[in-house]
């Protein structure tokens, strides 16, 4: 799209006389304001979804990437010995920052969601678990597995790769979905504003004709429509954004229940992102109306 800077600035510059020459058209005005408001409202939610899934992907990636779990399943009389042997191996393994055996209470807490709070962990034949925290350089999981196989036959190393990758991929896809939703919302808004602008131009065909007959240039005529639609889109989107942000703040807090949907919202500087929506709506309205107006005027004569 080749946009002449001088012409663009002349379209943006205010000219009350040009605005007055084109009578207000109630239907297209209301349509533009409503469309911009509704689309901005939806865009706030899509933005919140995108930011929340982004945070989720980062958290899952960082939390699970730096930890592994060693599970030791062995006859009861060998369990302590194999656990000690495994801890010894881990202490000598480069890239392991910390390795510790989970206590009975921690194991009970892990099983509580499935078996209730009074489960007798001590008397059940459940494997011992060792939590491994890696250094930032990471460890050689393949080498560790080989050594454990030789020295601790009951040990199985789970470096969470099997869980982490699909979860992070799913979160990233959700984030992409949010971004695509925003793009579609803005595109739909541009299409609606284009239709509204064309309707306004058609309704004012006689006005446009008279202005051209007395020597008005295309940029001057288009400017009256462009300014009007840009301001309508800006005001509609501002109202829609305010309502969208209010609606997001009314969602349950992530502290109440640790589900994904309760974490849908903005955090920290993320609250500034919705401020981008009204100016973006105005830019889209400007481009859509400008193209519609200039194309319409070119086709007239």
């Amino acid at each position: 799209m080749n946009i002449n800077i001088g012409r663009t600035l002349s379209l943006l510059a205010g000219d009350a006389s040009a605005d007055r020459a084109v009578p207000p058209t109630g239907f297209t005005a209301r349509l533009t304001v409503f469309t911009s408001g509704a689309m901005a409202f939806l865009a706030v939610f899509a933005l919140a979804l995108s930011l929340a899934t982004g945070r989720l992907a980062e958290r899952w990636a960082s939390e699970l990437a730096q930890t592994s779990t060693l599970r030791i399943s062995a006859p009861e009389d060998q369990l302590d010995a194999q656990t000690k042997a495994a801890l010894r191996v881990l202490e000598q393994t480069p890239g392991v920052a910390e390795a510790r055996e989970l206590s009975d209470d921690e194991q009970r807490a892990l099983l509580e969601p499935w078996f209730g709070p009074d489960i007798p962990v001590e008397s059940l034949p459940i494997p011992r678990l060792i939590e491994i925290v890696e250094t930032s350089d990471g460890m050689d999981a393949t080498g560790l597995r080989a050594r454990l196989q030789a020295e601790v036959p009951g040990a199985i190393l789970d470096d969470h790769t099997r869980w982490r990758e699909p979860l992070v991929a799913a979160a990233n896809r959700l984030r992409l979905l949010g971004v695509v939703s925003i793009a579609l919302i803005l595109t739909a808004m541009g299409a609606m504003i284009t239709l509204a602008a064309q309707a306004a131009l058609s309704a004012n065909a006689q006005v446009v004709r008279v202005m051209r007959l007395v020597g008005a240039r295309d940029a001057y005529i288009a400017g009256a429509f462009v300014r009007r639609f840009t301001l309508r889109a800006l005001s509609g989107a501002a109202v829609g954004t305010v309502f969208g942000v209010l609606a997001v703040t009314l969602l349950p807090s992530s502290d109440v229940a640790a589900g994904f949907l309760t974490g849908l919202g903005f955090q920290g500087t993320g609250w500034l992102w919705p401020l981008v929506i009204p100016p973006l709506a105005a830019i889209i309205a400007f481009a859509a109306t400008r193209n519609a107006a200039l194309r319409n005027l070119r086709n007239q004569s």
Partner: protein, 224 residues
Amino acid sequence: MIELENVAYSYGGGELFSNVSLRLAPGSFHFLTGPSGAGKTTLLKLCYGELTATAGHVRLFGINRRTIDRDQISDVRRRVGVVHQDCQFLDHLSVAENVALPLTVAGRADEAGDYLQDLMAWVGLTQQAGQLPPELSGGERQRAALARAVIMSPEMVIADEPTGNVDWEMSQRLIKLLVELNRMGKSVLVATHDMNLIRATKAQVQARVLRLKGGRLQVAGSDL
């Protein structure tokens, strides 16, 4: 100023006129006459660039119409004041705002001031300045259209049947205004089929009468 050379115009598969050659020099006064449907309005539109000839060459202030861009067309329309048969006003603007519209769209609205008041007085519409166009009579609308046509101090004024919807007295008044413009050095081209008006005007100013008939443009004889 405006030159047509072997111009033809076809519309809807038929040829409206052909081999039309015309030169509108500075300070000249021309009448264009002919029967209804002969193409007078079309010929006028060729003269101010609203239409493009299907054959031949039209030069507007030295620029070939075929090579002219859209902004240049706007410039031509600022140099040629046009009085349309149906006046073409913006009905939601006052008469004064309509008259000042060419200055407004040229970004020179601040120049109107006293000049606009003088112009409204010249066409006898001072009292009607604040009214809306639909509130004016036929003659008042034509005078307002004339005022709008000359507010940019154009080099040429083109009027399409300016007396078509007014009585004889108002016709005389309008023609007197056009004659005054011509005496100020403006070129004037008036399309009309009112022969009495042409004769009355020729008594006041040296005017050339062109007749468009049967697809050809001829210079009318001394009977006029």
